[in-house]
Symmetry: C2
Subunit: 459 residues, 2 copies
């Protein structure tokens, strides 16, 4: 609330172009709040305000901005001012920014970097997209096995300022291979003449630079560390990944899974910033695929046209039956996809899952089947809408519901596991795909059961 008042105050100063006081007010705020303030300004004001920030605060603030705002500022700031920021940004944030640009623009930006920083940036960009390497920063404190606590403290006082992640020290051997990670506090609590060798904890969980970022999230969750070492396949220390990037990755992964579950291709940008044609494209593809799949329902129903002609009453329950199958299928698919994503189950658990889902499907199908039958029975005691054979119609609907719900839960739970087994992403449209599958088969099931029960009576 206080921030809100402050924000309005500063906004008034910006309007009045009292830049000196704008600057003084912003100096009171931490960089994340300054960047939040900038986000709300018009592009022109954004540039003006950003220019008055002192260098260090400007760099920090820039890091907290969204890539879109960063790009916007980049075009208005001018190369010289921008070069300063780019050189001072922490390497992992810089990688994230450079990733946003197409190759030619990205190369132009790399030219703004000092030779040293350019080497760092190129190395990080050399790792595959979505790999741990892209999240990494090479700013960390490396200490040698043979050093004493007082050597380490001297080293930190000398080189510590550069490092973003001083809380954890990485002990390496002569070849630069990771031997241990030691908390800074363990150093502080030890006597100055102790050697690193004596402090080894033998606990140095690490990530491989080529690992997928999803793996990194799981490792962070397991070890509860704020920083993790990144090594190559020979265990050479390359850099560190910090938890703030991991929190972002975890959120992005969840967003992607949610969007895929909703039959949308994962968006590259926030919803509100995604260009409208892009948004349509991301939705059209799956909508068309599902539509074409769903056309099979028209084909399937074509086969039963004469039955429908003879017993129109059967048509009335088609939406009810297929949507129940779809809903139960979505439930199962959603539960299994999420359980797979957070590592609660693996493909190996398929049998256990199937047993549970068969049972759940049986229960749920029975409940819906009974409700469906009762609805027809109760209605029929008041009027004759469902005809003289309402009892058999009710039975057909009831048994179809049981069958379609069971089929929905089984296919909804098994399809994601199958996709995972085949190396595909289980979230990719499983839920709507299951719904389409169950729609088509549900129709066939319904008319088969009806033909059997009502054959010779209505059909």
């Amino acid at each position: 609330m206080e921030l809100e008042t402050l924000r309005h105050g500063i906004e008034d100063l910006v309007k009045a172009r009292d830049l000196r006081r704008v600057r003084d007010s912003l100096l009171e705020l931490p960089a994340p709040d300054v960047s939040e303030f900038l986000r709300g300004l018009s592009p022109e004001d954004k540039t003006i305000v950003f220019r008055v920030l002192p260098r260090e605060l400007a760099t920090q603030t820039f890091s907290y901005l969204d890539p879109d705002d960063q790009k916007e500022l980049l075009t208005t700031l001018g190369d010289e001012r921008f070069a300063v920021i780019l050189n001072e940004m922490s390497p992992d944030d810089r990688t994230a920014l450079l990733e946003e640009f197409p190759a030619p623009a990205s190369r132009k930006l790399l030219d703004l970097l000092s030779k040293e920083e350019r080497t760092v940036a190129l190395t990080l960009l050399g790792y595959p997209e979505n790999s741990v390497g892209r999240l990494m920063t090479p700013d960390f404190v490396e200490v040698q096995l043979s050093w004493t606590v007082s050597d380490v403290l001297t080293h930190i006082r000398k080189h510590g300022r550069e490092s973003d992640t001083l809380n954890m020290l990485y002990v390496v051997d002569e070849e630069g291979r990771l031997v241990d990670s030691i908390r800074l506090r363990a150093i502080l609590l030890s006597s100055p003449d102790k050697k690193m060798e004596d402090l080894l904890t033998n606990q140095y969980p690490s990530l491989n630079s080529m690992d997928d970022q999803e793996v990194a999230v799981q490792v962070f969750k397991k070890y509860d560390r704020a920083v993790l070492a990144v090594v190559d396949s020979q265990n050479h220390m390359l850099g560190v990944v910090t938890f703030d990037d991991i929190l972002d990755v975890a959120e992005e992964e969840a967003t992607e899974d949610i969007q895929k579950l909703g039959a949308v291709e994962a968006l590259d940008e926030p919803y509100i910033k995604t260009p409208i044609f892009e948004l349509v494209k991301k939705r059209a593809r799956w909508l068309i695929v599902l539509f074409v799949g769903e056309m099979l329902t028209a084909t399937a129903m074509g086969f039963y046209e004469s039955q429908i002609q003879r017993a129109v009453v059967l048509a009335l329950f088609i939406p009810l039956i297929i949507s129940s199958g779809g809903n139960s299928g979505s439930q199962a698919a959603t539960l299994i996809i999420r359980a797979l994503a957070v590592g609660e189950i693996t493909v190996k658990d398929w049998y256990n899952v199937m047993r549970r889902e068969i049972f759940a499907g049986l229960m749920l199908g029975t409940i819906l089947g009974i409700i469906g039958f009762l609805r027809i029975a109760v209605w029929s005691s008041f009027n004759s809408i469902y005809g003289p054979h309402w009892f058999l119609v009710g039975l057909s609907v009831g048994f179809s519901l049981l069958g379609v719900v069971m089929w929905g839960t089984i296919s909804g739970s098994m399809l994601p596991l199958l996709l995972k087994r085949l190396g595909a992403d289980p979230a990719t449209s499983s839920a709507p795909f299951v719904a389409t599958l169950v729609d088509v088969t549900g129709l066939v099931l319904y008319f088969t059961i009806a033909s059997f029960l009502l054959g010779g009576v209505l059909l």
Copy 2:
């Protein structure tokens, strides 16, 4: 891979009951790996192995176990051994464990605590469920404004061992009100005679103990800190929350949202550990609600029974039309719900969202409408399944698709915003609810358009 081999080795030792070597092997592993190893064992082996762990490793390992495994061990360990662990656990982990028990069992456990620890535990349990207070640990380093760097270092050497979060020091005034947070590294990099007053950064983002845990996730994301201070409404320093709890909260929130999107009530436990009847109950409730809602489709179709009788061909496209509305509605609802959850949009953006969705619906509806019409036109050039009036039937289907897709995107995007505005959780079953709504209205739309176009011809 290496861990896997090691695990098998230790498993063999457990089978052979060579507990001495089991202990020695486990001592080589960090606590998270030990707990992962325990998780795979039978209940009996779990207890046996746990008993041989030295005290400190046992406590740490216990903290990393799932609540279920913790409960299991609790029943087999015996009060005495358990009391030691419970007293030594970090207070936030202990809160999480105590939360799992019903009140009487929880009280029994509290009796195992020392007077001091019991006071801490009771205070933490006093905060509302899902509040920041429940995630908090009171282990932090508090320093006074007037202290020098060397005072602080002496204080840390003396009291530092107790604190889980030494990386950040909290500066308080005489009344215990938070004045600043200073990184340990800033202390290390300063000369010993500097006072805290001179080191103030004026940057101390903090959480309120009564805040919702979701708020905490957003604040962590904004400030990129690994630890955040927790204060009361008078800004008195109460404790700290660490990022590892936040990562868990973020994952849980995403899981809940995903489950709600899939029309399942949020599960309290992982899928595979949820008792089967519980699982059925969590699914049955929404499935029944949706089923009852979907019954309206049967009612709606009842009104059009005579039309269907006269033109059975219309019935063939019912599943296609209503599922397209449902799919486009789910897409919109999913996108909006997630954008709301991660704070990309707020209720205030409703007009902007509506404009986008009307446009998207128009485009998507036109695409599906054209495909639908073409399908009927192409089929009809080969055979006569759609009758002599296929052109008008095709037009009816095409325009209905346009209408139903637009209606789906609009209601799918507006309903979550409306729910949020009313103070309800937008994720709660929005997507399936939208699908049901669109199913019923889609039918009415279809038959209305068909009556208009085919009136006097087929109807």
